[in-house]
């Protein structure tokens, strides 16, 4: 498999605080890669740099072989990277369907075409019955789904998901996991995914990257990573005896 995203020694500081330090990793085309780590490990900062919302202090990012360093978020999106926000940002005054149409217009020449495409995505994410409601009336789990729907509507090659499972009930995770698996396998969407819900990570990820204090401390298959000494130390404390 070819490498879709190649991140090389990425660093970012905020007023002296090293949020991300020298992080390098690769995401293969068609893979589902989970980015995990305790709060404040720098996961969302990495996402913001990948999506063009933050400028890295140092390092390089290549997407499909091309450098995307210094591009604006809309240019990054045009190249095929879709993202969701950890703190959801719906277009509150617009209907659910209109929210998704905005994303769909990225790849559709006409509004009618975008509307039809958006409707299929809204249905698939289980928001079909709420499509004409204003986004402001949705519950938090529904808003998370709307984030995913909107990002998917731009037809990304790489989807960046930031804690989309948070606040969902176990039954809802299973539905979302099945859905992500479907878009990954059927549509070939590569997924890079920040997640705290380990059950979902174990079920879905092909590879797991672990961050701690801005540094990459482990990467590998889910089964390998949960047994890694450094990971156990940062999650569970260093004196743990297995």
């Amino acid at each position: 498999m070819s490498v879709l995203l190649n991140v090389q020694s990425l660093s970012k500081s905020f007023r002296g605080l090293r949020a991300v330090a020298n992080v390098s990793f690769e995401v293969e085309e068609g893979a589902i890669v989970a980015l995990i780590g305790p709060n404040g490990a720098g996961k969302t900062t990495i996402f913001n740099m990948l999506a063009g919302a933050l400028r890295p202090d140092d390092g390089a990012i290549f997407f499909a072989g091309k450098s995307i360093h210094g591009l604006r978020p809309d240019q990054v999106c045009a190249l095929g990277i879709g993202r969701t926000f950890q703190i959801v940002r719906p277009f509150a005054g617009l209907s659910v369907l209109d929210n998704v149409i905005v994303g769909a217009l990225r790849r559709c020449a006409r509004v009618n075409e975008a509307r039809a495409f958006a409707a299929t995505i809204v249905d698939k994410l289980g928001l079909g019955s709420k499509r004409d409601f204003p986004a402001s009336s949705l519950t938090l789990p529904d808003r998370k789904q709307l984030e995913v729907a909107r990002a998917l509507a731009t037809r990304p090659k790489l989807l960046l998901l930031d804690e989309v499972m948070a606040g969902l009930r176990p039954l809802e995770y299973d539905q979302l996991i099945a859905f992500l698996q479907e878009i990954n396998q059927r549509d070939g969407v590569t997924i890079l995914w920040i997640e705290h819900v380990m059950r979902a990570v174990m079920a879905l990820a092909h590879k797991v990257i672990v961050l701690h204090h801005g540094e990459l401390i482990a990467q590998g298959s889910p089964a390998h990573v949960v047994l890694d000494a450094a990971v156990l130390e940062c999650y569970l404390g260093e004196d743990l005896e297995l």
């Binding site: 999106c77 509150a92 617009l94 994303g103 217009l105």
Partner: protein, 293 residues
């Protein structure tokens, strides 16, 4: 009626920028004034009629709008600071024209008033009825343009930017370019309102055309009617006109001779509408009638 349509038209122009794209301008008198002076100066000094002059008015205002937009959006001047910038430019223009003798300075510029019974559409000179039909046509065209824009790609993108600019940009929208488009369209439309007002009143004073009161008058209609809706600016302007005329009638009928009573009644009704219908009359009405724009 002419005055109502004038504010309906200008309100629609402002609504594209604020209601659709979320960029609050309190300096729309700038475009009104520049449009008015551009066409009036061509007519006054060179005898060039308004139908040719309006193109200069549109071009100048579009350019001004683009300059202000570029300045603000490039350097991250947003929110209230953007609004302050729009006020500042209108004030610059007012003070500048006060001292610009070629355009009459603060003493004003006066267009020759032809016999009012002869309709001369080519020079926009004629009876009140002619002006009524001209502004009616403009308002209708603005309504069609607003409706079309709101349901096009531009309308979706503008609303996305209005609701959450970061999210809009993450969905691939070049927010700078689309905000610029909103400002330029809004400025160009307001320029036509300026041309109309120059020839309707035949007199131009910087203190009137560029004053912040003018800007506020323009935006009251859409605010009362419903910001961001297609019919809101028209409904709002209609209500304000009825209200102004109505208070006049009442004051005369009761023979009240208290200074400022008109403004007081006007203010109270305005206040009530804003308190009880914060999204505007049209939005409330459309909700009741289940009309979707």
């Amino acid at each position: 009626m002419t005055l109502f349509l004038f504010f309906a038209y200008a309100g629609q122009a402002w609504n594209i920028m604020m209601g659709f794209a979320g960029q609050l301008s309190l300096g729309h008198s700038l475009y009104l004034g520049v449009g008015a002076y551009a066409a009036a100066a061509l007519y006054f000094h060179f005898g060039i009629g308004p139908w040719a002059g309006l193109w200069l008015a549109i071009a100048l205002c579009a350019l001004l709008g683009a300059a202000i937009g570029a300045l603000a959006f490039r350097y991250g001047v947003a929110g209230v600071y953007f609004t302050l910038l729009t006020i500042a430019f209108a004030e610059f223009a007012r003070i500048g024209l006060d001292h610009f003798a070629w355009l009459g300075g603060s003493g004003g510029m006066f267009l020759k008033v032809a016999e009012r019974d002869r309709v001369e559409l080519l020079n926009l000179r004629g009876t009140p009825a002619m002006f009524y039909y001209v502004i009616l046509a403009l308002s209708a065209a603005a309504l069609a343009l607003s409706a079309w824009l709101l349901h096009s790609r531009a309308g979706y993108y503008w609303q996305a930017i209005r609701e959450n600019e970061d999210a809009a940009q993450a969905l691939g929208i070049n927010t700078f370019r689309w905000k610029m488009l909103a400002v330029v369209i809004s400025a160009a439309m307001t320029a036509l309102a300026g041309v109309f007002s120059a020839f309707y009143y035949s007199s131009l004073f910087p203190e009137q055309l560029f004053s912040i009161n003018r800007s506020v008058e323009i935006i009251l209609g859409p605010i009362i009617g419903g910001v961001g809706t297609i019919f809101g600016p028209i409904v709002g302007a209609a209500l304000l006109t009825v209200l102004a005329e109505g208070t006049n009638e009442i004051v005369v009928a009761f023979g009240w001779e208290v200074p400022g009573i008109k403004q007081l009644i006007y203010g109270i009704v305005l206040f009530a509408v804003i308190v009880f219908l914060p999204h505007g009359i049209w939005s409330a009405l459309a909700g009741k009638l289940k009309v979707r724009e």
